[in-house]
């Protein structure tokens, strides 16, 4: 079972943004921090990014993705952040209730004083760039191929064409070459590279993989399996240039055509999204338009350096902790009033202690069953009696009243809750 029903900070997603947020939330004084991950282990997409180049800014070390992830995961676990794996967040309300689903815990509702959205982003697919043709086997996003080759141990194919010069596409061109595939070329519809220049050098040029700018795919050939693609040059308005078509035989087409922040949950929580970034509008503390809901990392806008994602996570985690602590302090002003023995309910449900310092407070309640003998209506803090009132009898049809006096303030101020019991005299 989960350790708590109410958490100070709940973080959705355990990639670099989420893990950084958890670390900083703890350091900033949040007590109960929970991180929720839908995969079988912590780390997010970094686990499949086995190439080097991570951590140069933040750790002054050239680490592969899994190593960078593990560095921060270990720090997070040493701070006693609670972890929930294999768990999908189904819904988030603007009041910061989260609905979770997992095989282990079933369907669970929890509450958070603040939330950090760190769901990252996902890849654009074929459907989003509308390539005509059949739908044969052999067309994957670059990230899917990356997961297969680097984590699960499968090769997507032998003769590869890559559409799009995003970083993951170029990195996969090199990776597939390492594993014995032949990467025929990389096509880019724009007149410039969409990823980092260093990846053009160390992923494509080092291995003589050609990059063709101003080129795209006109159609995909093959019915059951990709057999070839038809490449074509485009003009500055992305119109096909007639006569430039070229059939390139291949069995695999990888798409590296952009990333989209994953914000289905944000939308459900009432978070407003920027149509340009596809991520939430945030202030300098990474708070969204919904109070207490923060967002960090690729869910806000797509970064090219993981170090900066971690930095954004640190800021969001710190802000989320600050919000949660302020809320917890506000809640501490109140003492809950609990219906105890023979009491069905009490109104008010909670009491602002400072009110009692200035004036008497009347509590009203109904009993669960008639008691036709003299009784005490007792208000206690779990151990000590604070006040009591005698009644000759109590009946459900007749409301019972007891008054807390200003002189009770000192006792009430110490109590974490007040319980009202009705006992025979």
């Amino acid at each position: 079972m989960l350790a708590k029903q109410i958490y100070d900070v709940v973080i959705v997603g355990s990639g670099p943004g989420g893990v950084a947020a958890a670390i900083e939330a703890k350091k900033a004084g949040a007590d109960d921090v929970l991180i929720i991950e839908r995969d079988t282990e912590l780390g997010g997409i970094l686990l499949q990014c086995i190439h080097n180049g991570f951590g140069l800014e933040l750790l002054k070390e050239d680490l592969p993705g899994p190593g960078y992830a593990q560095h921060f995961i270990e720090e997070m676990l040493s701070l006693h952040v609670e972890v929930l794996l294999n768990t999908m967040v189904m819904d988030i309300t603007p009041q910061r209730h989260l609905f979770l689903s997992s095989k282990e815990h079933g369907y669970v509702e929890i509450e958070a004083r603040s939330i950090v959205l760190a769901m990252g982003c996902r890849e654009r697919t074929r459907a989003q760039i509308r390539i005509p043709g059949y739908r044969p086997n052999g067309i994957y996003t670059a990230g899917t191929a990356q997961r297969w080759v680097n984590v699960e141990g499968y090769m997507p194919g032998k003769e590869v064409v890559i559409l799009g010069s995003g970083d993951i596409g170029m990195i996969m061109a090199r990776r597939l070459t390492f594993e014995g595939a032949h990467v025929e070329r990389v096509l880019e519809i724009q007149s410039y590279l969409s990823g980092l220049s260093r990846n053009l050098v160390q992923c494509l040029q080092d291995y003589d993989i050609p990059l063709q700018l101003n080129h795209t795919i006109k159609r995909i050939l093959g019915k059951n399996r990709v057999e070839a693609i038809e490449a074509v040059q485009v003009d500055e308005k992305w119109n096909f240039v007639p006569g430039t078509e070229e059939i390139i035989p291949c069995d695999t087409l990888l798409l590296s055509v952009g990333l989209i922040p994953e914000n289905e949950l944000s939308r459900k929580a009432g978070v407003k999204l920027d149509p340009i970034t596809s991520g939430p509008y945030v202030d300098e503390t990474f708070q969204t338009n919904v109070p207490g809901i923060f967002a960090a990392g690729n869910v806000v806008h797509v970064y090219d350096l993981v170090d900066w994602v971690s930095e954004a996570g640190f800021s969001a985690g710190k802000s989320a902790a600050k919000y949660a602590i302020a809320l917890r302090n506000a809640e501490a002003r109140y003492t809950p009033l609990v219906a105890g023995k023979n009491v069905r309910y009490v109104v008010p449900h909670k009491l602002d202690k400072s009110t009692l310092e200035a004036e008497d407070v009347r509590l009203q309640m109904r009993v669960t069953r008639p008691i036709e003998q003299p009784v005490w209506v007792e208000v206690h803090d779990g151990e000590n009696l604070i006040t009591r009132k005698a009644e000759r009898y109590v009946r459900p049809g007749e409301m019972v009243t007891v008054v807390l006096k200003t002189k009770n303030y000192a006792d009430v101020a110490k109590a974490s809750k007040l319980t009202i019991d009705i006992n025979p005299r």
Binding site: E41, I50, N52, G67, Q70, V149, N150, F178, V201
Partner: protein
């Protein structure tokens, strides 16, 4: 005769376009760099180009079937195919701890190959 060579610095993600003035294999001057790393890179790239190599090895009884590994320092670029072939021969048994040396002094380069992450045993 001095000649100009142009390439992109890969020392960091900034990717500066370097222009290197060369004569008889000697670097006379570098322009286009934003920091000292660029100078070092230009010298290395024109005499002994090197790259970090990251790949995977088989791991028995692991949480995943593959363990990602990387060279602790950049290896000479022309050696990359042989380095990959050597690393491919490695087969490990889970559990393995991050930064464990999985292959020592690969091909006499003095460079070790390290585990990129810890890999717990299959549950």
């Amino acid at each position: 005769m001095a000649e100009e060579v142009n390439f992109i610095c890969t020392a960091c993600p900034q990717g500066c376009a370097l222009t290197v003035l060369m004569e008889n294999g000697e670097v006379l001057g570098v322009t286009g760099n934003s920091c000292k790393k660029g100078l070092d890179y230009a010298n290395a790239e024109t005499s002994d180009p090197r790259r970090m190599v990251a790949t995977t090895v088989k791991i028995r009884n692991g949480f995943h079937p593959l363990l990602p590994v990387y060279t602790e320092r950049p290896v000479p670029k022309p050696m990359i195919p042989q380095v990959l072939a050597e690393i491919r021969k490695v087969e490990l048994e889970a559990p393995v701890v991050m930064k464990t040396v999985v292959l020592e002094n690969v091909l006499g380069t003095g460079i070790n190959v390290l585990a990129s992450r810890s890999m717990p045993a299959k549950k």
